[in-house]
Subunit: 295 residues, 2 copies
């Protein structure tokens, strides 16, 4: 890819900061301007050398940037895009890192208006336990998948630029329509988070919750790890991707009902068949690694 | 505890082998006799020094043993106890390692008959990814919980002996009635396993399963790890603990329905409240360790 003169990173947390570090390490950009409504985070990003310059607003950061990367919580994207649009140069491209895409597209249409063709919705599938700019590392996206969901009206050269940037960061980029993205992630991400929250919530509501948790072991620990995630973020994701999440909840409830019926009827062969299919699929997906918890 | 002259370990897999190694390391036993219907596993156990002597049957192993530890799959416990009873000395104690307890008690009543007071049902909450005697290690039970479910008719000195052995292995021992054990583990172990199998089974059944799995990340990996467990074992556990598992499935389905309604109504505060309670409970349980997956 051509070396960019300047990029703006709005939201200098784990994702925004890691993108800045990865782009810099790849030699893909000369200058990085940051913006964040958390001014202390912004100062730390500058002090850590994650960004070169701290801007006072998204509009100021966007001004003069070849690419604007919006890495804020989904609920804040609208306001940020509104402000970004005010500073955006005529050839600049905008992308984001939101976990849901159809709602971001709807918001972007409203806020970016005639600049919508320069917006490439994106979702990097990456994270780590720590958050904040201090946790940012240039390797975060190495080997990670990034989904872009360009609209029919999106400029092909805008999509190409965003793809090239993510590839410079080491990511594997896939493009698909926003509704397809939201369906896939409702199934493999949003649903499991809701289910884990639901299980812990159910047990925590009991009078003997402490005793229950006291006997929980590794299997429970793995299954419920994602229930330690941010309630704000997953609330927003569930509501932003409501239709797909509801559809996945219903598919899942139907499958659980099948398992329930097999248990109730004492149908060992039926239960074993479904469990074996699941075990094989899980093992194939996890690269053949064995991973049991026979407790 | 007094040093035992001889123990019999029937089923020299991960659990039986680790118990033998731990007892030996603790200096709690002079001689360990093993039995296993898998004669190759039995030979390996002897070659590895996990057992001193290989017996030809559970009855032969039990003959002369102060303690008989039955560490075979739950579905095989009946036949093993039947045979153990034939060789059992008058002062010998028997215990097991099955994941469900009420059904083991029912089986033991049938098979041990007048020797039932010498049987102490047990469940060590331990495991690791590898299985088989080669994976056995003396530290497996260090800090692990062991639940004993003595019956009202169980000899107190039998329970005391089994407790002392587990404590010699480094375990933390709790006693409770078998039905209470089965309810607790239906909630914190059997249910999560069924739920994980159900999720993977549902996604694996789709035409686009490969694409779906292709976008799954760390949260999905954690949530579904237990779906890579043994289908035979978890089929048996679900059926052996059927009533409690069905009750837990229904409680869980009701809680998922609450989450579904909050999503459908777009009730952000309600969703956040339940998620926050779950997050806090999960974090408190996991010792305050943060563990997110904001992908």
């Amino acid at each position: 890819m051509r070396r960019l003169k300047s990029i703006a990173v709005v939201g200098v947390g784990l994702i925004g900061g890691s993108f800045a570090l990865a782009m810099r390490r790849a030699g893909a950009v000369a200058r990085i301007v940051g913006a964040d409504r958390d001014t202390q985070a912004l100062e730390r990003a500058a002090a850590l050398g994650v960004i070169d310059t701290a801007a006072g607003s998204p509009a100021e950061a966007a001004s003069g940037a070849d690419l604007v990367f919006v890495a804020v919580p989904v609920r804040a994207i609208g306001a940020v895009l509104h402000d970004v649009a005010r500073g955006l140069g005529p050839d600049a491209v905008v992308t984001d890192a939101g976990s849901t895409k159809a709602d971001v597209v709807r918001t972007a249409v409203e806020e970016l208006r005639d600049r919508m063709p320069s917006f490439v919705p994106g979702h990097p599938i990456a994270g780590r336990e720590a958050s904040g700019v201090e946790a940012a590392v240039p390797e975060l996206f190495r080997g990670a998948r990034v989904v872009l969901t360009p609209e029919p009206t999106t400029l092909p050269e805008a999509t190409a630029l965003v793809r090239a940037c993510w590839e410079a960061c080491g990511a594997r980029v896939t493009a698909m329509p926003a509704p397809a993205h939201d369906r896939v992630f409702a199934a493999v991400s949003h649903l499991p988070h809701l289910l884990a929250f639901a299980l812990v919530s159910e047990i925590a509501s009991r009078a003997d919750a402490t005793e229950m948790f006291g006997f929980a072991a590794g299997g429970f620990r793995d299954f419920t790890r994602i229930a330690a995630s941010s309630p704000e973020m997953w609330r927003d994701v569930a509501l932003a991707n409501r239709e797909a999440v509801l559809a996945e909840l219903d598919r899942y409830a139907a499958r659980v009902a099948v398992f329930r019926e097999l248990v109730e009827k004492g149908d060992g062969p039926g239960l074993q068949r479904l469990m074996t299919e699941a075990r094989n699929a899980r093992r194939a997906w996890a690269g053949g690694k064995r991973s049991t918890s026979d407790e």
